[in-house]
Amino acid sequence: MFDGPEPLYVQIATHVRDQVLSGDLGEEEQVMSTTQFATTYRINPATAAKAFAGLVEEGVLYKRRGLGMFVAPGARELLLDSGRRAYVADVLDPALAQAARLGIPMDVVLARVHASALAVPPAAPASAQDAASGTVRS
C-alpha cells in the first residue's frame, strides 16, 4: 500500500476517495484519525494530515470540532461527478489513441462499444435515476 510513484499524500487521498466511491466509507461516517492512519500504514502523521486537509478542501471530508473527520454529505456524488468528467480525458481518449497505434479500425471499436451497450443496461447517472424515479436522497 502507498508505494506508487505519486507523492504519498496524493496516494493517501486517492485511497480515501476510492473508499468513499466504493461505499466502504459511507457519508457521515468517521474516517480514521491522522494518528490512526499514520500508525496503521506507518506513515508520517503530517503527511496523512496533508492528504486529509486536501480532501476537506475538495468537499469529500469535513471536520467536526473535537471529534475528527467525517465523510461529507454528497461526497460520493461529488466524486462520481468529477470521475465522470475526467473519464473521457483520462480513460477513453488514451484507449482510443492506443487503438489507433495498434491500427484497430474505428468501426471495430464502435462495434465493441455497441455490443457492450447492449450487454449492460444503460447506467444513467445516479442523480438522473433518482430524479426519474422520484427517490428522495437523504
Binding site: 510513484p5 507523492p7 494518528t35 500508525t39 506507518r42 503527511t47
Partner: protein, 301 residues
C-alpha cells in the same frame, strides 16, 4: 528544559579528523517538530553530524545551532537532546533496569510506563545485564531510551541493527504513535530506506561530508523519474537534465533522470506516450550516491 520541539541549523559546518573532512561545509536546517530522515552511505558523515548536534564534539569550522545555541558542552541543549548511538550508551555490566533508571533520573519527561510497555512489546527481559544482550536486544534498549526520554530533539542513529523485522515494526509503530501524541523533532538515520521512508516528512542525503539533497520527502521522491519508450523520443525530451541511470534495450531506452521541483517533464513525457514511473527514495538514493564524482547541488527547498 523546554517542551516545545526544537530546530537545528548548520552553517558551513566542517569537522576534520586528522586529514579527512568528515563534514565539509554542511548547510542545513532540521525543522522543529518534523521527522527528518538522514541518509548517506557508510562514511558519508551522518554520525559525525549527529555527534555535533548532540554537543559531544566541537566543529573544526562553521557553526551548528540547536534551538539557536551552540550545543557543545551546553547543559541546556544537551538536556533537550537525546541521541541514541549505535553503541547504546548503557552500563554494560549492570542490568538493563539500571540504565533505564539512569535515564529516568536524567530526562525530565521520561515516561516509565512507555519504557515498560516497550520492553514488553520487545519481549526484552530488563533484568539481564547489558553485556549479555544480543545486538538486536541492545538496539531495543536504545529504542526504549530514545522514545521514553521524550526529548524535544530525539535522534536515532541506526537504531535497528540486529533487530528482526517484527521488532523493527514494533519500534516504528511505537515511534509514530508516541510522536503523534507528543510531537517533537525526530531525526532518523537508517540504511533500511524503503522501510522507514514513509515516516519522513523531510529528508537529507549526505554524501562525502556534503549535503547532496535536502527537502520535503515527497518532493525529493518526486524528483526521481524513470522514462521508458522510444530512444529518440526519450532523448529529445531529456534535454540537459541530469541522467542518473540509463538502460538501452534496442530501440527502447529506459532513463532515470533527476528533475527539478516543478519540472514539466512528467506531463510532457506522458503526452509523448512514454511510460513514466517514480523511482522511490531508496533507488533515488542509490543512483545519486553511486556517482563517485557527484557535485553537491545545494538545497532543493
Amino acid at each position: 528544559m523546554t517542551t516545545a520541539p526544537i530546530a537545528v541549523a548548520a552553517h558551513g559546518l566542517t569537522k576534520r579528523y586528522d586529514d579527512v573532512d568528515a563534514l565539509a561545509g554542511v548547510d542545513l536546517e532540521i525543522r522543529a517538530g518534523a521527522v527528518t530522515g538522514l541518509l548517506g552511505r557508510n562514511g558519508a558523515g551522518k554520525s559525525t553530524l549527529l555527534q555535533l548536534v548532540a554537543g559531544f564534539e566541537r566543529p573544526t569550522s562553521g557553526r551548528i545551532l540547536v534551538d539557536g545555541e551552540d550545543p557543545f558542552d551546553n547543559a541546556v541543549t544537551m538536556a533537550d537532546t537525546q541521541l541514541v548511538r549505535e553503541g547504546g550508551d548503557a552500563f554494560a555490566s549492570e542490568p538493563v533496569t539500571d540504565t533505564l533508571g539512569w535515564y529516568r533520573d536524567l530526562r525530565e519527561h521520561w515516561d516509565a510506563d512507555l519504557a515498560a510497555g516497550l520492553a514488553d512489546a520487545f519481549e526484552l527481559d530488563t533484568s539481564q545485564k547489558v553485556e549479555n544482550l544480543s545486538r538486536g536486544q541492545s538496539s531495543m534498549v536504545g529504542a526504549i531510551i530514545g522514545l521514553a526520554s521524550r526529548a524535544p530533539l530525539t535522534i536515532f542513529d541506526e537504531t535497528y541493527i540486529g533487530m528482526d523485522a517484527p521488532n523493527r515494526e514494533t519500534f516504528y509503530e511505537a515511534l509514530l504513535t508516541d510522536y503523534a501524541a507528543h510531537p517533537r523533532t525526530i531525526v532518523i538515520s537508517s540504511h533500511l530506506i524503503s522501510e522507514v521512508e514513509r515516516m519522513f516528512e523531510d529528508v537529507v542525503i549526505l554524501d562525502a561530508g556534503r549535503v547532496l539533497v535536502h527537502g520535503d520527502a515527497d518532493e525529493v521522491r518526486a524528483r526521481g523519474l524513470t522514462l521508458t519508450g522510444r530512444a529518440t523520443e526519450v532523448e529529445r525530451l531529456l534535454g540537459t537534465r541530469d541522467v542518473l541511470a540509463r538502460r538501452d534495450l534496442g530501440p527502447t531506452s529506459q532513463i532515470t533522470v533527476l528533475t527539478q521541483p516543478g519540472d514539466e517533464l512528467p506531463a510532457l513525457a506522458r503526452q509523448a506516450g512514454l511510460e513514466v514511473d517514480g523511482v522511490g527514495l531508496q533507488d533515488l538514493f542509490v543512483h545519486l550516491t553511486r556517482r563517485t564524482a557527484a557535485s553537491p547541488e545545494g538545497e532543493s527547498r
